[in-house]
Amino acid sequence: MATTFAFGKYTHAVVRAIPDTFGKKDGDKNEQGAELDLAKAQRQYGVYTGILRQKLGLQLIEIPADSGLPDSWRVEDIAIVQGDTALITRPWSASRRKEVDAVKKVLEELKLRIVEVTDQEATLDGSDVLFTGREFFVGLSSRTNHKGAEAVADTFRDFAVSTVSVHGSAHLKNFCSMAGSDTIVIGSSDGAKKALKMMEQLTDHHYEILTVPDDAAANCIYVKVGSNSNYLLHRSADECPESAAAFQKLPDYTLVPTACSEVSKLGGTLSSCSLLINRKLEL
């Protein structure tokens, strides 16, 4: 039953390969102005998918790269999956809306209930949606607007859907993520702190907070493997030297340092490169 699922349990991961056009066309700006290394990005992507498959034991569904869609590797933006329901988003960037088709097709194959954002005024990037296992927080950012958030609320009616203002060009999940069923990892920037405060105000629940020095390090992937093993994919010490130690505070976690320096130059994060789905198909 959808309502009794365990947070962090996944069966599938949907990813999309990094196209040759990676970073070339304007999907996102190159935030750091650094040069992009396509080969490195692809290598990192390879390692990333390997971790998903081998360490986390997820069934990987890889959507082929499409050089016409330079940002298509950011599959997280394209859909919000909770339980058996997938909300296909309406990305802010019009050029990215074509990315939807392939993802939708995959999700349909997984027999998820597909809901699409129909409101033409709505914009919604999946990276602005944080699902805590108990509720949704939708970042009202430069990419996601109120109508987009409403779509989330309309789709996932069982849950409280709260809106959180996100300042700057980042998505909500650029500075926070879940590191357990009741643990929020949060960055240390002012924006992150403000957002966290708002989330704490809005929630009925109590979350543990793990603060890390770098916003970038606050985006992790938490996966529960088996009945009781907690895995956390986080930015490696090379990439976020100050923050890596913070994860040691998590007891009984298997920490998996994962690199994504290249995609992060485009505003990408660990979580933005995959869609994690819990779907037992034999149902």
Binding site: A2, T3, G83, T85, R157, D158, V161, T163, L202, D204
Partner: protein
């Protein structure tokens, strides 16, 4: 146990009496209030109640008033016989004539009193008025304001009649009572006598008593209990309804039940909401009814809750008498409901909510919940019986698709084997997780005119824009809720970084909707957040606006009450929701358009009402007294505030009434704890009890004490043996007793070392009263060793530790602070929130403790004044509190505040203290080990009284947002030559964590020969050794020394 006791009639008359004669007592204080406030209205209301439902004494106006009445009823003794006189004689008389009675537990008394009432009535019939006449009067005297005066006059007459009758027939009645008592309660009496001799066996006997009572229980008993149970107005009303004479004009209410059927219900025209509600609950065989309520729709088709405390007619006005039975407070955890039948009704409500879209669900959840509904109503899926269209008659969602139905069927198949109750429990487990579960939405606009929704729920106030939650204010964050015209305001507690509270305003569509929202907030806050309901605001001259308060039981109370339900699970038929579901299509208010189908199941329900119900209700009612107590606290706080609201207890109560109180408390304890033996241990023996009652006041209202003290003292001092040691009682109630003692002491010194500690535990409070012996004027001769005692002259001090075992009172006192602003506001009401941290008593309790202890010196001073120049060794008292898991947070501010109190007291007494009083408060992590500090004396001329409080440094109490539930409480007293140790053990369970608190009161009595410090240290050490797993959180050393010799100590 006077005739007057417990007769409600009297209670209500009292106001009038008050007019005639100034009452010097608590009652007076209460009454004025009432008079001031609602004045005649209330009176008339009371009278109406009275007459309407003789049995039902509760003034349903509000819990507070009810309480007052009740208490008053139980304690009318003194007031009724003209108070003007010195109470001495009367009191003497009373104990004499009613000696037995005083030992009887309150319910017994009440019973008596009730029977009294009846007797009285009959007498009255003989004498002057017949009941019918009275009732006719009632009818005529429209309880309402318009004809108040009329009714008042009538009442006045009646009252006078009553009084006279009573006075004349007091003896008669007493006889009656006694005989009655004897008839019914022989056993108990015997037991009590027994208990006099044997302290040990007492607990068990108490139990027995209770049993007996319960066995004996006939309707009357129940009624009595009901009286006790202030909160449970509905039950009372139940009764009252049953007993309503047929002459009443009645009205037929149509109540749409949760299964969609309509139940016609006849109520008297002027019945209050609770009457109807009680009838419905009875019809439904529902005991856990506090979660439910009745709604009606106003002209704007808005759903309004019928206020149980107000007349139906005045609420619905010209609207049709059409109501709906609904869940009012959605229990956050339905699994904690005691009975399946309650869950069933909750399920019905939720199905409705879901079907009309009030409770939004995802597709999957619709399907899942639907499948549980099928399982509950149809049982296991049967492929033959259940064709595919079998479910299309149900409605699982506002818009039901084939896909959904398929999914429902699919899931239904997986529930094989679940019983209806199980399926419903699972239904609820899933439904409760829905984010809109229990959220009551109200349309509003924010300050910028943007349409939003305000959602009131168990945790606070939620702000939605469209479906998105855009803000949330948990109850602890909200300082005040108010409305003015169509504006609704919440005042927000400043955050850590903010300095100022902010007020947020919302615009509601109109005044009524603002008020409706405000009421819902007040009710939700009270129900979910407080342990006991708040008293309605005291009426002040200048107060305008609604005095509305939630008057029912809180969730904490109802949970407690439901733990006592022990009836066999009632059988009830689950009506198929098929019929109703279709009719709901497209309906967006969940009224049931069709009242049609006479619920098949409903009828059965009726028939099936278990005979056990009454018994159970009894039980339920018993524990209503607990709420009452908590109300007391409210009063108490208010008093501190100087408002002096109705005080439930009268100061000059005769001993019996005290016993009553005590018994009441005991009763509560029993209710609280099923291992009653423990609880009751503190009632060591009747004799001790008696003494305790005499000398202790369970009344938690320091200020009152002070007042009384002042009065009492002066009276006593003037009248009696002024040069002798006076019995000083903080509580005027003790007057009688003390007088007696005085008399006995006249001739010779009393050589009794009275070292008693008594504790009253109540649901929410505990008072520890200890008396201390002090060396007499003879003290010039320090006693030797064990002999000392004989030389001690009895002196009494009361140290009262008021400690909340549960959270409410704090909050209330917290609120009290908030109350002030309210005065200034017009048309604005507020409810105050207890900060989460303070939710636990500790803070308050500390304050109270110190507070009271501080008082001691004052009393002592007086005494000492009289005894000037008499030297002697005084006792030393150690008060240590051991607590596990939680420390009592200490508030220095409170202490100092208390200091000021002392001063005030002194002034009040207008007797310059000869004694130096020192209050030292030390906060220290190693408090217990520093007891030596107490030795550092300040040189003093005559007598020194020191109260030193050591607190563990940890200030805890944060995060305790759950009210604690008192599980057990016991008091053990042990004595040795020079020390008396009283151990008070209370166990509370809070949020799954049980806390054991042990308070030891060690009284070390002796003279210079004894090293007090050593004894103290030893005592503490022993205490620690006895409870190695516990930590000492507080040590209060109260030391009194009379210094005639140098360096003695």
């Amino acid at each position: 146990m006077t005739t007057e006791v417990g007769s409600e009639t009297e209670v209500k008359k009292e106001p009038e009496q008050a007019e005639e004669q100034p009452q010097t007592q608590a009652e007076t204080e209460q009454q004025p209030e009432q008079q001031l406030v609602d004045g005649k209205q209330e009176q008339s209301a009371h009278s109406t109640d009275l007459k309407q439902a003789e049995e039902e004494q509760n003034t349903q106006e509000s819990p507070s008033t009810q309480q007052k009445d009740t208490t008053a009823a139980s304690e009318q003794v003194s007031p009724a016989p003209q108070e003007g006189r010195a109470g001495v004689e009367k009191r003497e008389e009373q104990p004499g004539s009613k000696g037995i009675a005083r030992f009887l537990p309150p319910w017994l008394k009440k019973q008596k009193s009730q029977s009294h009432v009846e007797q009285k009535k009959s007498q009255m019939k003989e004498g002057e008025t017949t009941e019918n006449q009275i009732q006719e009067k009632e009818e005529k005297s429209p309880t309402q304001s318009p004809s108040k005066q009329q009714s008042i006059e009538k009442e006045g007459e009646e009252a006078r009649k009553d009084t006279s009758v009573e006075e004349k027939e007091e003896n008669l009645i007493q006889d009656h009572q006694q005989s009655k008592q004897e008839e019914t309660k022989v056993d108990e009496k015997e037991e009590e006598k027994l208990s006099i001799s044997s302290a040990e066996t007492q607990p068990a006997k108490e139990d027995q008593k209770e049993d007996v009572v319960e066995k004996d229980s006939d309707v009357k008993v129940e009624d009595k209990k009901e009286e006790d149970t202030i909160q449970n107005t509905e039950v009372k009303t139940d009764r009252s309804i049953q007993k309503v004479p047929k002459k009443m004009k009645t009205f037929v209410c149509k109540v749409t039940l949760l299964d969609g059927t309509e139940y016609p219900c006849e109520v008297e025209k002027r019945a209050k909401g609770q009457v109807l509600f009680a009838k419905i609950c009875e019809h439904l065989n529902l005991l856990e009814k506090d979660y439910f309520g009745l709604t009606y729709r106003d002209n704007a088709d808005q759903k309004n809750w019928l206020d149980p405390a107000k007349e139906i007619k005045r609420q619905i006005r010209s609207l049709p008498w059409q109501f709906a039975f609904n869940v009012k407070f959605y229990p956050p955890d339905p699994s904690q409901l005691t009975e399946d039948i309650t869950r069933y009704f909750l399920c019905l409500q939720l199905r409705q909510d879901i079907a009309v879209g009030r409770l939004p669900c995802s597709f999957v959840t619709h399907a899942l919940l639907g499948s549980y509904t099928l399982q509950a109503e149809l049982g296991d899926y049967d492929s033959e019986e259940h064709r595919h269209d079998y479910i299309s008659e149900f409605q699982f969602a506002p818009t039901q698709t084939k896909e959904l139905e398929d999914k429902v069927v699919e899931l239904h198949k997986t529930h094989r084997g679940l019983t209806p109750a199980q399926a419903e429990a699972l239904f609820l487990e899933n439904a409760k997780k829905l984010s809109m579960y229990g959220v009551d939405l109200h349309h509003a606009k924010d300050s910028e005119g943007v349409d939003i929704m305000l959602g009131v729920c168990a945790n606070g106030l939620l702000i939605y824009k469209d479906r998105l939650r855009i803000n949330r204010f948990a109850w602890p964050k909200i300082l005040k809720i108010s409305y003015k015209r169509s504006n609704f305001y919440i005042k927000i507690r400043p955050g850590e970084t903010e300095q100022f509270e902010s007020t947020i305003g919302f615009k509601l569509p109109n005044h009524r909707s603002a008020k409706r929202l405000w009421k819902v907030c007040v009710e939700h806050h009270t129900f979910f957040r407080l342990v006991s309901p708040e008293q309605p605001p005291k009426a002040k001259f200048l107060t305008l606006g609604s005095k509305f308060r939630y008057s029912g039981r809180t969730q904490a109370q109802t949970r407690q009450a439901s733990t006592l339900i022990d009836r066999p699970a009632p059988f009830f038929e689950r009506t198929s929701s098929k019929r109703l579901s279709r009719s709901l299509d497209g309906v967006h208010h969940f009224t049931f358009p069709r009242s049609k189908s006479e619920g098949t199941g409903t009828k059965e329900l009726k028939q099936l009402q278990a005979p056990a119900v009454s018994a159970t209700e009894q039980i339920l009612q018993q524990d209503f007294s607990a709420p009452a107590v908590s109300d007391l606290e409210v009063g108490f706080k208010d008093k501190e505030d100087g408002k002096e609201p109705g005080s439930p207890y009268k100061p000059t109560l005769s001993p019996e009434s005290k016993i009553e109180n005590e018994d009441k408390e005991t009763e509560e304890q029993k209710d609280l704890d099923k291992t009653q033996e423990d609880v009751l241990k503190h009632q060591a023996s009747i004799s001790e009890l008696k003494r305790n009652f005499m000398e202790s006041s369970p009344e938690p209202r320091p200020n009152q004490w002070e007042k009384r003290l002042t009065g009492t003292l002066s009276a006593q001092t003037q009248g009696k043996a002024p040069s002798r040691t006076e019995e000083v009682h903080p509580d005027g109630r003790d007057l009688a007793e003390s007088t007696e003692k005085l008399k006995s002491e006249m001739g010779r010194e009393q050589e009794i070392d009275t070292q008693e500690t008594m504790a009253n535990e109540e649901t929410t409070k505990m008072f520890t009263v200890s008396q201390r012996s002090e060396s007499p004027s003879v003290a010039a001769k320090p006693a030797e060793g064990g002999e000392m005692k004989t030389q001690l002259r009895e002196k009494k001090e009361e140290t009262i530790v008021v400690r909340d075992v549960s959270t409410s009172s704090d909050s209330e006192s917290e609120e009290e602070a908030e109350y002030r602003p309210q005065v200034a506001r017009k048309d604005v009401d507020q409810i105050k929130e207890e900060p989460e941290e303070n939710e636990h008593l500790p803070v308050r309790s500390l304050a109270s403790t110190v507070h009271v202890e501080v008082k001691v010196p004052v009393e002592e001073k007086k005494e000492l004044e009289e005894k000037i120049e008499k030297g002697g060794m005084l006792g030393e008292e150690v008060y240590c509190t051991t607590a596990e898991e939680r420390e009592e947070p200490k508030v220095n501010g409170d202490v100092s505040h208390i200091d000021t109190d002392i001063v005030t007291q002194v002034i009040c007494c207008s007797e310059p203290p000869v004694v130096k009083t020192e209050m030292v408060t030390i906060s220290d992590a190693f408090a217990s080990q520093k007891s030596e500090i107490s030795t550092k004396e300040v040189p003093i001329v005559h007598t020194e009284t020191k109260t030193i409080t050591y607190e563990a440094a940890e200030v805890d109490g944060t995060g305790d947002s759950e009210p604690g539930v008192l599980m057990t409480a016991q008091t053990i007293t042990s004595e040795s030559v020079c020390t008396t140790t009283t151990t008070q053990i209370t166990k509370t369970v809070k949020g799954g964590v049980s806390e054991t608190r042990i308070e030891k009161r060690i009284v070390i009595t002796g003279d210079a020969d004894i090293d007090h410090d050593q004894a103290l240290a030893q005592a503490i050490k022993e205490a620690k050794e006895q409870h190695p797993d516990m930590s000492v959180t507080r040590v209060v050393v109260h030391k009194e020394t009379e210094l005639t010799e140098e360096g003695d100590d």
